[in-house]
């Protein structure tokens, strides 16, 4: 438990210092996106990794956050700092109401239902042209401001977004070590057994679904105010799958794993830019191979590597305790 917080502290330091290494420019921009993706992956991990409930529609919550915030500020002149909580709250209400019927479903059926929801939202983004600007997108979204300081340019966006991302991670680590975190893991292992032990599985699943959606909406709102432009293509089915890929590759239930997954999937397209279009094939292979041979993801891989490197005597002691 203490180790997680220590790791978090170290991680925070690295995040704070990192941009000094590359003063502005393209790479810093990539790091900004990495922050948003990390936030989304951690949010989805709460649902997928902790509670074991899949969602193939999380891009919809991300998109709803971005569009609600974007439309309010660009078309109705609302202050971004007001629009962000409104977006988060409305997405929270939607997710809460949707959560009850949808989380009654399990496995494949849940996957398909969340996927269907994602596609419906995507179609709405495209078709309500008078509000969202349709397929060509919504322009003129203002950036965030504190007093006279405007969060514009890579450096300021970086600290704004990573601030929220670090908060999300800390919240998730806390949740993981709380009674709720343990209850969620119990649901993951066996829902029936957890109910027998007195866990209100149904309500807890809805709660974590809502929390996960709200964090995604906050990420969406931040994304809209950083990019100052949104279009439906960023919130489609492919992005939902990409988010699931991040969580799986990083490792189910590992907060830092989600960061690793998000980092890999943010950098991979940049690296694969030379061999354009191959990225989709690589994603597909990664998903299959990781699920088959490394079900605990990168985080699990790192952990077992660390165990291997430690002296044998300590390992057996660890084993007895664990």
């Amino acid at each position: 438990m203490k180790r997680d917080y220590l790791l978090f502290l170290l991680f925070t330091l690295v995040v704070l210092v990192a941009p000094l290494a590359f003063e502005g420019g393209y790479l810093l921009n990539v790091l900004v996106f990495m922050g948003i993706n990390t936030m989304l992956a951690v949010a989805l991990n709460l649902l997928l990794g902790f509670a074991g409930q899949i969602s193939l529609g999380h891009a919809a919550f991300f998109g709803l956050g971005a569009y609600i915030s974007g439309v309010l500020t660009a078309n109705h002149g609302v202050n971004p700092w007001v629009a962000l909580p409104i977006a988060a709250l409305s997405v929270g209400v939607i997710a809460f109401l949707l959560g009850f019927p949808i989380l009654k479903l399990k496995g494949h059926y849940l996957a398909m239902a969340t996927l269907g929801f994602g596609i419906i939202v995507f179609i709405v983004f495209n078709e309500t042209v008078e509000i969202t600007g349709g397929p060509s997108g919504l322009t003129g979204i203002p950036t965030m401001k504190i007093g006279a300081m405007e969060f514009q340019g890579e450096m300021k966006s970086y600290y704004l977004i990573w601030g929220f991302t670090l908060l999300t991670m800390l919240l998730s680590i806390n949740l993981d070590h709380s009674r709720i975190g343990r209850a969620l893991r119990a649901i993951h292992d066996s829902e029936v057994a957890s109910r027998v032990m007195g866990v209100n599985a149904r309500f807890l699943k809805v709660q974590v679904f809502t929390l996960s959606a709200v964090i995604s909406a906050v990420a969406g709102s931040l994304y809209a105010h950083t990019m100052t432009f949104v279009s439906p293509s960023s919130f489609g089915f492919n992005f939902s799958v990409e988010l699931v890929t991040m969580v799986i590759i990083g490792g189910l239930g590992s907060i830092f794993g989600s960061f690793l997954g998000a980092a890999l999937l943010t950098f991979l397209p940049e690296l694969l830019r030379v061999v354009q279009d191959y990225d989709i094939v690589v994603y597909g292979l990664l998903l299959i191979v990781m699920t088959m041979y490394m079900p605990k993801g990168l985080a699990g891989g790192v952990a077992s590597l660390a165990r291997l490197l430690r002296p044998a005597k300590k390992r057996t002691v660890d084993h007895a305790q664990g």
């Binding site: 494949h108 078709e127 094939v281 597909g284 088959m292």
Partner: protein, 294 residues
């Protein structure tokens, strides 16, 4: 064109897309019933059918029938390879890991198709002529008739296979109880492989017969696959009549919805229906509820 003619027109196009959804849905149901897997890559088999036929036709310059046969054969081989390489080696398959593996498979197949054959959309030539026939004031393409005919044929063959052949009966036994089936000497693993073979073959056929009407490209599989899944869900995942009815119902709803309400929301209709059915009657419209065993 008066209203009645228009409605007949919608009904025709609804029935023909519905027939396609039914075929794709059958593919889902066949695999689900013998393995308990929802194969998210099912739509890619449909795509492969259409795209492979187009390229055998234009690049390899094969005659139309041979091109179709090649497409079905290659898709079936891909289906079998997919099962053999990714599903079978799994030691402890959980629904979550199976969902992710089949999604990975579908992305992979789509990506390879894109790399091999590009991003363009292509139309296959219609099987017999392009002159519309007039039925009850509505015009209907000969291709619609081909779709009805071939769909009926496939459904009949399917029925025959599952009820009158040893392998078919063995597969039904697996769907009832895999352990019991293996106890009476059925090779369950072979049946799982067989289910992938059959459903990829059926899927590719669906992709071939729809391609002259709706064009084909590397990315058509996603939507078609999802619609087929809706059909199977409406039908309660039966590998028989329920799914066929589900497909037709979905096709009609979509075609009337697009015609009478808004064509932009056409795709949304299928998913709203899907969500409603999952929320209200997850066991499908035509079957009784089952209790969950722990």
């Amino acid at each position: 064109m008066d209203l009645l003619q228009q409605l007949t027109q919608y009904a025709f196009s609804g029935f023909s897309t519905g027939a396609i959804y039914a075929l794709i849905g059958l593919g889902f149901a066949i695999i689900y019933n013998s393995t308990g897997i929802i194969n998210f890559a099912q739509g890619e088999f449909v795509m492969l059918g259409g795209v492979l036929t187009y390229f055998s036709l234009t690049v390899l310059r094969l005659p139309y029938l041979v091109a179709m046969a090649v497409a079905v054969a290659v898709t079936t081989a891909a289906g079998a390879a997919f099962e053999r390489l990714t599903i079978r080696p799994l030691k402890s398959p959980s629904p979550l890991s199976l969902v992710i593996i089949t999604i990975g498979g579908s992305i992979f197949i789509r990506g390879v198709a894109m790399l091999l054959w590009g991003k363009d959309t292509h139309a296959l030539p219609p099987f017999s002529g392009n002159d519309p026939l007039t039925v009850g004031g509505a015009s209907i393409m000969p291709q619609h008739l081909w779709i009805f005919g071939i769909t009926l044929l496939i459904i009949a063959a399917n029925k025959f296979f599952f009820y009158y052949t040893i392998s078919g009966k063995a597969m039904r036994a697996c769907s009832h109880n895999r352990t019991a089936a293996s106890l009476v000497g059925i090779d369950v693993r072979k049946m799982v492989l067989l289910s992938f073979v059959i459903s990829s073959a059926v899927g590719s056929l669906a992709g071939i017969i729809i391609a002259p009407l709706t064009m084909t490209a590397y990315d058509v599989g996603v939507m078609l696959g999802l619609k087929g899944f809706c059909a199977a869900i409406i039908g309660g995942m039966s590998s028989g009549f329920g799914t066929v009815l589900g497909g037709l119902l979905l096709g009609l709803l979509e075609s009337f919805g697009a015609g009478l309400i808004s064509s932009g929301y056409k795709d949304a209709i299928a998913f709203i229906v899907l969500l409603l059915i999952l929320f209200i009657r997850p066991q499908g419209l035509f079957s009784k509820a089952q209790t969950e065993r722990v």
